[in-house]
Amino acid sequence: MSERMLPEDAARALAEVDRRQRQVIALAAIPDWYWWAVGALMVVLAVGVDVRTGASIAIVVPVFVVGMLATTGTVVLGAFRRALPRNDLLVPQGIFAILGFVGLTVGVTLAVAFTLRAAGAPYPATSGCALGAIVMGTGGRWLSRYLTRVMLRNGPGGGR
């Protein structure tokens, strides 16, 4: 059949391959709300650290743990119930981007918190985590889109 195949038909077939590939990769996209939810949970935990009473710790730690399990479980189960995108689509740029993002968020959070504490400012952990949450919320959106692009590029046909 390839002897008779028109280039336009081949192009249409490749476009179909690309469309189906995007469909699977879209399943792995982390929703924007997830990053803001994790950021908010970080702030809740930090409030407990700053207040430093037994009651505050007893409240914020379970809220943080249950919140993380619920949000992460919702995202993971929602994404991987239908199909699991190939693991090798992310490697290695995607892994480096994730590690860089985590490093940036933690770095900003700790740097602000320790600087404020050294300056004697009130609620240093909460302030640091609030800034870290903003970095996570805005950066997470960017990271999700970047990871999608990386996966498309590494997919069958190279994301033409």
Partner: protein, 103 residues
Amino acid sequence: MSLDGFDELIHAPTRLAIVSLLAASEWADFKFIRDSVELSDSALSKQLSALTDAGYVEISKSFVGKRPRTSARLTRTGRLAFERHVNALQQIVARAGVTILPD
């Protein structure tokens, strides 16, 4: 124009859609494939049987809780055949200088 790797079995439109979904996945749920390519259960089963008979696809059945789940994955042979088929398509396009634009 004759090209190595062009695969008649994969190139049929419905099967190309199915194999393309599977090529980007470790595995895919039967319902996800069915809804994505807009086929009935029996029509999808027929297409998957053809691909399984060719050694391109593996079907597995399991339980998630009490619910049965059927999933499909490309075999190594299937993945290789798909890559070769995509290469053949790309060569046809490249020789003609056609531009591919996403939908």
